[in-house]
Symmetry: C2
């Protein structure tokens, strides 16, 4: 029996040889990495240039992933395939032509919003969610055409429901958890998760402590029980992992994520004035070497082997295979 | 016997459905098109976006070429493969990381200079040619690494000789003619052409009237006799066509080519105050439907069938196959 792949649906670490080696130690076949939080197109390209340096410098550890076949190639060659994504449509500026350009450069996920209102939709921290904008509807069609996945992890409820409905291909919430388990603003309602699952969309479970019941103290058992419940809600093929691991990042980075250039004030996002920095990760997941604990936790929570394989990578593999190529018109 | 491909090594037309259909009528399998004369990176990307619109709108006529295999695909599907090139390194600005980015976006040729001194080398219109700059030497290594061809069509003699020597892969002069035949500043010396041929480099013969003996009145016989003589000088496998066809362009475009944003004055380039615009093309080559005339002219000039096939496309095909992929280290 061919072992199933191990795929993480979101990371934004302070990348280094150490982390790339930990990916190999942990047997991670593919990771969707964030390359943009607030960057313009040109700044996003500069970030890709930095990744190209890493690919050139560490060819035995990592390479750029473009298709699901690259996950298999990563397994066959003992490396990790790195797939690019943007948490903000800032990278495409006001130019729909950049959707295809960014896809050609390897972008495979793009959030329509990052917390705030964007040109395309409403972020989860705005008071009023007005849904997809005129431009947002056009951009979703273009993303569908070229094979750039709509990611609504940081969007408001109405915008997300409209994206699910408007998109002709399944969308993703790469890193969030159910609101029923932990009522953070970023976590998602049952209504939304059900609609996501019914349309073939994917949820990646986040281990960012602000998304966890109990925060940094959340137990592995609580996390895995939640996954089993969500499998019942969404279906076992529509769930996966999206750790949101921000390993080795200084607190200045969480501030950049939160305020970018859009405000001169401090915004604490999911944190608070007394806890402005990165919260510590749970003891059971510190870095890429610890995915085995989740696998064991899911077994302890009663999930069968096939379900576990799906959550740990097979579901992302199938979704990548269906999502990253040009749209096939029936 | 499989018929050989028909490839044009340079065009910069005012692109339209009419021209794309003429390519099909003329049986043109591949064209290297200029996407940048003076544009910055972002402006170059906007030009690629425009090409993406044409690819989406005319999928039965054209598609973007990336590898030599796309030439065969074009033949098999009755279309023309469009390969991108830049006549100016302005597209990579001062950022060596953009070499790989542009290659990923499909750029396959980049001139190190366009007439003037650049950050990389000296153009053919400068008084003093100081050869490759410090940055130029680094960029040539990077272009070699990723598979972006060094094109020296508009460079000075010393810069070109240094590029030939410094480049670890064969370079190209996509559109120029021998200086011995017509002593224009843009045409190339025997010394240079011999060095180009000895290193496996390519010359594409230009039909831009300022590069022709007799200008617009140049006869087909004179042009083809020159090709036969150049085959003796450089070898029959190192020569091809690079028409420099600028079909349907208004004179404002030739002015943009010549002055860009680098001067407020008028520079007439290869023209003159009394002839500032595009000169008329020779009667025997008006557009993409007329490559057959060159084939016939070469036969009349005494070239054998294999030599003619080489000039008309087989030589570019081989060069594309050897040049567009990552460098293989021996």
């Amino acid at each position: 029996m061919t072992p199933q792949p191990l795929i993480d649906g979101l990371q934004y670490a302070n990348w280094s040889e150490k982390i790339f080696r930990q990916m190999r130690e942990g047997g991670v076949d593919a990771v969707h990495v964030t390359i943009t939080y607030h960057e313009t197109f040109r700044e996003t390209v500069a970030n890709i240039e930095q990744w190209n340096r890493w690919f050139e410098r560490f060819p035995d550890l990592i390479f750029q992933g473009r298709t699901a076949a690259d996950i298999d190639r990563a397994r066959d060659t003992g490396r990790t395939a790195i797939f690019f994504g943007s948490q903000n449509p800032s990278c495409m500026e006001d130019d729909i032509g950049l959707v295809e350009i960014l896809h050609t450069l390897g972008l495979r996920f793009m959030q329509l919003t990052y917390n705030n209102q964007s040109l395309l939709a409403t972020g989860c921290y705005e008071d009023d969610d007005t849904g997809l904008t005129r431009m947002g509807r056009q951009v979703v069609v273009e993303m569908n055409r070229v094979g750039l996945v709509v990611d609504m992890s940081h969007s408001g409820e109405r915008s997300t429901l409209e994206a699910i409905e408007h998109s002709s291909r399944p969308i993703a919430i790469t890193h969030a958890n159910p609101h029923m388990w932990h009522p953070a603003l970023r976590n998602k309602s049952d209504t939304l998760l059900r609609a996501l699952g019914e349309t073939g969309g994917m949820l990646g479970f986040s281990i960012y402590p602000h998304h966890l019941a109990g925060g940094s103290a959340c137990s592995l058992q609580s996390f895995c029980d939640m996954i089993v419940r969500t499998a019942d809600l969404m279906g076992p093929k529509n769930i996966a992992i999206g750790t949101d691991l921000c390993q080795d990042q200084p607190d200045s980075i969480v501030e950049w994520m939160r305020v970018g250039r859009w405000t001169k004030a401090i915004d604490y996002g999911e944190g608070s004035a007394d806890k402005p920095g990165f919260p510590p990760m749970p003891t059971w997941f510190q870095d890429n070497r610890h995915f085995g604990a989740i696998r064991e936790g899911l077994a302890a929570a009663g999930m069968d082997a096939r379900g576990i394989d799906g959550v740990m990578g097979a579901n992302w593999h199938r979704f990548y295979a269906d999502s990253f190529g040009p749209q096939v018109r029936s």
